[in-house]
C-alpha cells in the first residue's frame, strides 16, 4: 500500500480523498493555490504545499509544481480527483516517468476512451450498443432510406462538419427524409463548404443512466447499481440518484453487463463510469466512459455500501478486487443535489464571496461532502460547486422527503446558492413520479416560472 498520497485537487473532492486516506492510515499531502491557503483540504492533510497563484492553469494545472511537490514531500502516489488533471494523459505519463503512481487508468486507456470516435469504434467492436447510424457519410438517398427503415424513425441527419446542433435535421418518417437529406446537404455546403452528411437514430428525451465499474489487474470487472443523472442543465448534471427509477432489475443486469463488456474491451483496471443514453423503449446506447472518480460517486456508495475512493486506492496499489458481482445489493434509494454558488434567478450566474450564516443539515440518512465552513470566502477562480448534499432512504419516496427536509435545514447566507432550485425539483410532481429525462429542467422547472 502507498505510504503517502498527494491530492492534486481542491475543495470537496480533495477532502474526500483525504478522508479515505486517513481511514486507511495513509499520509496525505494537499497542494493548494495562494487563493486556497488555509482552506479545509490544506488543514486536514498531513502536509500542504503551495503550488502557485490563484488561476488554476498556474496552480492546479501546473504539472511541474505538482510533481515537485510530490518529490519534496516523498509522496509515492498522486490522486487527481475529478476535473483539472484527472484525464490528462500527459500528467499520467509524467507521474509514471517519475515513479509516482497515478491513481487512475494508464495513459493508453485514457487516450482510448477520451477520443469519442475511437471509443465508439472500440465499443462497436466489443458488441456494446452504440447509437445506430451510417458508418460514414451518405450520398445516395436510397441508402439513407434503407438505413432509416432499419434503425427506425425518428432519425437525425447531421452535417459531418457540423456540431452543437448546427446543420441538424430531425426526421419523423420516410416522407421527410429525402427532403431533409437534400436540405441538410445544401445547408452544409453553404455553411461549412462540405456537403457531407450522415444519418443517426434520434433519441428523443433520453435518460442519462451510467454504471460505476470496478476493475483490477487480474481482469476482474464488476458493475455497481446504476446512477440516473438525467436532471441536467446545459449538459451539467444537477441531481443524481441511484437506483434509476427507469431501470428494473432485468434491464440493470443487461446494461451492467454491457458496461463490463465496455470496460473489458480496454482492459480497465480501476474505477470508472460507463455512460449510456436510455430511450423510452428500454434501448440503451453507449455514450462515453469517464476514467476517473465522479462527482456523483456518493449515491453509489450509499446504495452499495462500498467506499469507492478506498477501493480506487486499493486497486491502484495492485490489490485484487475482492467483491463478488452476485453479492452487490441495493440498500435503499440515494439522491445527490449539487449545491452550487450560483444564482438560479440570474441564469445560474456564479457567485463568490464570504459565507455569513452557515448551518449544515444532519440527522438520519444525510451526508454532506463540502470544503466550505462558516466564514469561508468562496474564491472566484474555480468551479462553482461548493457542496454535495446526499441522502439515502428506504425507498425513493423517503429519499425525496429526506432531501426536501435536508434542503430546508441547509443555511448558507452571504451568497446565492442553488438550494432553492433543488427544493423546486424535489417538489415537482413529475420528479416524484420518476418521470425524468434530459429535458426535465427545461420543460418542468423553467416553464413553471
Amino acid at each position: 500500500m502507498f505510504k503517502k498520497i498527494l491530492i492534486a485537487n481542491r475543495g470537496e473532492i480533495a477532502l474526500r480523498v483525504i478522508r479515505a486516506c486517513q481511514e486507511m492510515k495513509i499520509k496525505t499531502v494537499a497542494v493548494h493555490s495562494e487563493a486556497d491557503n488555509g482552506s479545509l483540504h490544506t488543514r486536514f492533510a498531513d502536509e500542504s504545499v503551495c503550488i502557485g497563484p490563484a488561476p488554476s492553469d498556474e496552480s492546479y494545472l501546473n504539472i511541474p509544481n505538482i510533481i515537485s511537490a510530490a518529490e519534496i514531500t516523498g509522496a509515492d502516489a498522486i490522486h487527481p480527483g475529478y476535473g483539472f488533471l484527472a484525464e490528462n494523459t500527459y500528467f499520467a505519463e509524467v507521474c509514471q516517468s517519475c515513479n509516482i503512481t497515478f491513481i487512475g487508468p494508464s495513459k493508453e486507456v485514457i487516450l482510448k476512451m477520451g477520443d469519442k470516435s475511437r471509443a465508439r469504434k472500440a465499443m462497436e467492436k466489443a458488441g456494446v450498443p452504440i447509437i445506430p447510424g451510417s458508418k460514414g457519410t451518405i450520398s445516395k438517398i436510397d441508402d439513407a432510406l434503407k438505413l432509416a427503415r432499419k434503425i427506425k424513425y425518428p432519425v437525425v441527419v447531421k452535417a459531418s462538419a457540423g456540431g452543437g446542433g448546427k446543420g441538424m435535421r430531425i426526421v419523423q418518417n420516410q416522407e421527410g427524409l429525402k427532403n431533409a437529406v437534400m436540405t441538410c446537404q445544401s445547408e452544409a455546403k453553404a455553411a461549412f463548404g462540405k456537403e457531407e452528411v450522415y444519418l443517426e437514430k434520434y433519441i428523443s428525451k433520453p435518460k442519462h443512466v451510467e454504471f460505476q465499474i470496478l476493475g483490477d489487474r487480474k481482469g476482474n470487472i464488476i458493475y455497481l447499481p446504476e446512477r440516473d443523472c438525467s436532471i441536467q442543465r446545459r449538459h451539467q448534471k444537477l441531481v443524481e440518484e441511484s437506483p434509476s427509477p427507469a431501470v428494473n432489475s432485468k434491464l440493470r443486469r443487461k446494461m451492467g453487463h454491457a458496461a463490463v463488456k465496455a470496460a473489458k474491451a480496454v482492459k480497465y483496471t480501476t474505477v470508472g463510469t460507463v455512460e449510456f443514453l436510455l430511450d423510452n423503449d428500454g434501448d440503451f446506447y453507449f455514450m462515453e466512459m469517464n476514467t476517473r472518480i465522479q462527482v456523483e460517486h456518493p449515491v453509489t456508495e450509499l446504495v452499495s455500501g462500498i467506499d469507492l475512493v478506498k477501493m480506487q486506492i486499493k486497486l491502484a496499489a495492485g490489490e485484487k478486487l475482492n467483491l463478488d458481482q452476485d453479492k452487490i445489493k441495493i440498500q435503499g434509494n440515494a439522491i445527490e443535489c449539487r449545491i452550487n454558488a450560483e444564482d438560479p434567478d440570474k441564469d445560474f450566474l456564479p457567485c463568490s464571496g464570504a459565507i455569513s450564516n452557515y448551518i449544515l443539515p444532519g440527522g438520519p440518512g444525510v451526508r454532506v461532502d463540502t470544503g466550505i465552513y462558516p466564514g469561508y470566502n468562496i474564491p472566484p477562480f474555480y468551479d462553482s460547486m461548493i457542496a454535495k448534499l446526499i441522502v439515502i432512504g428506504n425507498n425513493r419516496q423517503e429519499a425525496i422527503a429526506r432531501m426536501e427536509r435536508a434542503l430546508g435545514e441547509f443555511v448558507i447566507e452571504g451568497i446565492k446558492t442553488t438550494i432553492p432550485f433543488h427544493t423546486k425539483v424535489m417538489a415537482d410532481e413529475f420528479y416524484k413520479k420518476g418521470e425524468v429525462n434530459t429535458s426535465f429542467i427545461q420543460e418542468r422547472i423553467f416553464k413553471q416560472g
Binding site: 504545499v49 503550488i51 502557485g52 496552480s59 509544481n65 515537485s68 519534496i72 514531500t73
Partner: protein
C-alpha cells in the same frame, strides 16, 4: 543527486515570519489598539495606542543596533522563531523578501563543491544568481528579483521550498556607507 532534506522542517519558521509581517500590516492600517493571536501554543500579542516615551526610546535603540545583533546563519527552528518574535515590529516592517516562484529543493550553491552564491550581509543586485532550485530532476538557477542587503537566508541548503515561500530577507534601504564598508571587508 544532491542531498535533500525533508519538507516541513524549514518552512515553519518562514511562515511564522510572514504571519508576523501580516499582523504588522494589519495593525498598521487598521484602527486597532490591541491584537492577540493564539494557536498551537504560540501567542503573539500587539498593542498600540499613545506610546510611552521610554518604550519609544528603547525601540529606537534596538533599531539602530539591529543588524549587529542579528544572528548571521541559520539557527535551530525554535531559537530563530523565538528571535523573530522578539524583534521589534518597525524593524521588520522595512525589510522585504525574495520569494520562490516554483516548488522544489533549494540549494545555496551551483554545485556541492562550490561556495554559497549568497551569504548574510552580502549586497545583492536584481538579476544576480542567488540560489538553485531543483524540480523534476532539473536544476534551475534563480536570479534575484530585487536588490538589497541580505539580512537572513530563510531556507537551508537542501531543504524544500513551496510556491511563494520567502527565501531571502532583504534590507532594500541599507546605508551606502555601510555597503562599501562591507564590500571592503569582503575583499580584504
Amino acid at each position: 543527486m544532491r542531498k535533500k532534506k525533508s519538507k516541513n522542517s524549514s518552512n515553519k519558521k518562514a511562515k511564522e515570519l510572514v504571519q508576523i509581517r501580516e499582523f504588522v500590516n494589519l495593525i498598521k492600517d487598521a484602527d486597532i489598539t490591541e491584537l492577540i493571536w493564539e494557536r498551537d501554543g504560540t501567542k503573539i500579542s500587539f498593542k498600540r495606542g499613545a506610546p510611552n516615551l521610554d518604550e519609544q526610546k528603547e525601540l529606537a535603540q534596538k533599531e539602530a543596533g539591529a543588524y549587529e545583533t542579528l544572528p548571521p546563519g541559520p539557527k535551530t527552528e525554535e531559537e530563530s522563531s523565538q528571535q523573530i518574535k522578539e524583534e521589534s515590529l518597525s524593524f521588520l516592517e522595512k525589510y522585504t523578501t525574495i520569494k520562490s516562484h516554483m516548488v522544489g529543493t533549494f540549494y545555496n550553491s551551483l554545485s556541492e563543491d562550490q561556495s554559497p552564491l549568497v551569504k548574510v550581509k552580502d549586497i545583492i543586485k536584481p538579476g544576480q544568481k542567488i540560489c538553485v532550485i531543483e524540480a523534476m530532476k532539473i536544476m534551475r538557477e534563480i536570479s534575484a528579483d530585487k536588490g538589497g542587503k541580505v539580512v537572513r537566508i530563510l531556507v537551508e541548503d537542501g531543504h524544500p521550498v513551496e510556491y511563494g515561500q520567502d527565501m531571502f530577507l532583504i534590507d532594500p534601504y541599507y546605508k551606502k556607507e555601510e555597503a562599501s564598508k562591507s564590500l571592503k571587508k569582503k575583499h580584504k
